[in-house]
């Protein structure tokens, strides 16, 4: 389409707006499964016009392990070991909703001390998961050192989890009806019921103090940096109604201004006995998503400190039959995972294993909003936005 210029009133040359559309056909850029910043094996087929992305189509399934099918061939204790491998960054939090669902169906009353230990380890896993984000997100944007400081603080928390449960990533510490009672079930070991190791309280208090200091350091090192603020402020704004329509949950939803945290409505963990506030962001951009997670680390550290002071003593596991058969019934339990809402819809027909287990993971819905939010965005921003969604591919592909 060319503009026709009539010779009489020739406009001043500089004002002739060349409205000839330079015909550029877009390029299909394959931000493939093997890419430094896709948090695992996610493939984005992006139609790119110069630097601007016209549309993005995520291709999933590279990490699909078929958990819902596996759950149908396993017994209940075996599923708890299977389930904490879904979101491996926060291993402990995946088991809680499944255990709560089975306990609800079996009407088992979990002792107080076991609930407190579960709550403490959930909050520690949340701190570990948010530290991975705190380290990896500035790496997406180009800052290389925060990753090392984040991993250093995270090691402290993982060592604590390992000293209690024996595993750093996959603790497998939950049993139906409470927490792992003893190293073995045999007569010799029955006597010494395992509990928190000696000196655990003191170590946890020091660790939480250093973590609170680390959060302030991160606020200066990353949040204060003008380049980081320039790269994340106002980038990838997610309005609240789009977030709820796509089922985005967790820190991303709270960053968009909705004060909704499943921890306030859970009844199987004693969150009501602690006072913590829920950080929310104002305009739902990448900076808010980063800042909400940083404040959540502080809240979780405070919760763990309060939990240590007020932990009751008592048994660790309720009376549960050796072979667990869950009575027929159906129930959906959801919990506040570090990534968002994680829920298990358990349909049991009284057999050794569940008839059908629907696993609702947070990152799957969080990612489904990516094609909407990545319209017309520059490539460097694509990474800033994707990084701020903090997803783990195990969570997405189940």
């Amino acid at each position: 389409m060319t503009t026709t210029i009539d010779p009489e009133n020739l406009p001043f040359v500089s004002e002739t707006s060349v409205s000839v559309e330079i015909e550029t056909e877009g390029m299909i850029l394959n931000i493939g499964p093997q890419h430094p910043s896709t948090h695992g094996v996610l493939r984005l087929v992006a139609k790119v016009d110069g630097e601007k992305i016209s549309n993005v189509e995520p291709v999933l399934g590279y990490m699909h392990r078929g958990y819902e099918k596996l759950a149908e061939v396993r017994t209940y204790p075996q599923i708890t070991t299977l389930v904490n491998r879904i979101d491996w960054v926060s291993g402990f939090c995946n088991e809680i909703p499944f255990i709560a669902a089975t306990e609800k169906l079996m009407e088992v009353e979990v002792p107080e001390r076991a609930k407190y230990i579960r709550l403490m380890l959930t909050e520690m896993a949340r701190i570990a998961s948010h530290f991975v984000f705190n380290g990896a997100y500035p790496l997406e944007i180009g800052a290389l050192t925060p990753l090392f400081y984040a991993m250093e603080d995270r090691e402290r928390v993982l060592d604590l989890i390992e000293s209690v449960t024996g595993g750093r990533f996959h603790p497998n510490f939950n049993r139906i009806g409470g927490v792992k009672p003893a190293a073995g079930a045999g007569p010799a070991t029955k006597k010494d019921i395992q509990d928190l190791p000696a000196g655990f309280y003191k170590e946890t208090r020091d660790a939480m103090e250093t973590i609170l200091l680390a959060c302030d350091k991160f606020e200066d090192l990353v949040g204060g940096n003008e380049v980081f603020v320039a790269r994340t402020k106002g980038v990838g704004v997610l309005p609240p109604e789009v977030a709820t329509a796509y089922g985005v949950s967790g820190p991303i939803l709270r960053a968009s201004g909705i004060k909704f945290d499943l921890r306030t409505t859970t009844d199987y963990l004693p969150y009501k006995d602690f006072d913590y506030d829920i950080p929310i962001g104002e305009n739902g951009d990448c900076f808010d998503r980063w800042f909400v997670r940083l404040q959540e680390i502080r809240e979780s550290a405070k919760i763990v400190l309060q939990a240590i002071d007020s932990i009751p003593s008592g048994p660790l596991q309720a009376k549960v039959p050796k072979i667990i058969k869950v009575p027929a019934g159906e129930c959906y339990v959801r919990a506040e995972n570090p990534k968002g809402e994680m829920g298990y819809h358990l349909i049991s027909e009284g057999g050794l294993g569940p008839y059908r287990l629907k696993i609702r993971t947070a990152s799957f819905s969080n990612i489904s909003v990516l094609p909407w939010i990545l319209e017309g965005v520059l490539i460097p921003d694509l990474l800033a936005i994707m990084g701020s969604f903090d997803f783990v591919l195990g969570d997405v592909d189940r």
Partner: protein, 326 residues
Amino acid sequence: MSFGLELIIKIATVAAIAPAMALALTIIEIKGSAYMQRRPGPLHVGLRGFIFPIAEVIKFIQKEDIIPTKADKSVFKMAPAYIFISVFGLFVVIPASPTLIVRDLELGVFYFLAISSLSTIGVLTAGWSSANKYSMMGGLRAAGQLIAYELPLILAVIGVVIQAETMSLVGIVEAQKELGLPFIIAGQGVAFLIFMVAATAEMMRVPFDMPIGESELVSGFLTEYSGIRFLLFYISEYINLFVMCAIASTLFLGGYHIPFLPEEWVNFYGPVVLISKTFALASVLILIRWSFPRFREDQLQNIAWKILIPVSLVNILVTAVMKVVL
């Protein structure tokens, strides 16, 4: 001594100094950044890791040099040469003392600015010829960035030239000697900042390393290079760092001159002073590299066109007025 012999000696010294300085800077960068991140860095290479760059050079030399099949072979092979030449060319004008200089050109500054813009061609051809979408984007980004930051570099240097009334680098250092104060204090502080920001962008170091943005473009125009070609890129990056800091210290920090040392010995302490000032500047750049994220493409251009150039023009105006007044 005939001109030819003198030329050979000078070329030999430059050919010896440049890689040595590059290796020294690599050591500072790698071990320094490791300790900044509270890890020991390379340890088992020898001397607790301090001969790591030599090991790296040998590693790259014996590595296989892959040329992608669809690549534009001849251009692909020549690309590192452009950058290497442009970086080596800059050694001509760096004065280690009034006499210890390859060739004291009357238009030293003009020569320096002309040669330093040669590397844009090398980066662009490298990006284009490796037939890979990511490196093509890296190459185009590099072209945009280098050209955008040529201008503030030149305008910042003009302020110095006005104040020193000469274009030859030795003359500039002499001017600072009479003034008694290095130019960074005597009126050219703003120009120093602009020069350093523009130089960081020229060297494509963080926070301007969009062309080699590892998290997006895998490693920009360097993606397809390996073996000795990558080594040429790598070495010339560090020589470029040394040269830019050397020229910055010559123009702004008084080069080989220190106020209270005796004049006669300048041939002996001159190089040491210049190198120490250069390494100080380089370690500041290294510290910046490990504590800054990366700018986005359009922010990068905004800074160049909307902030650096206007400020450097104002700086020239102020210097010219001060020149007339004083």
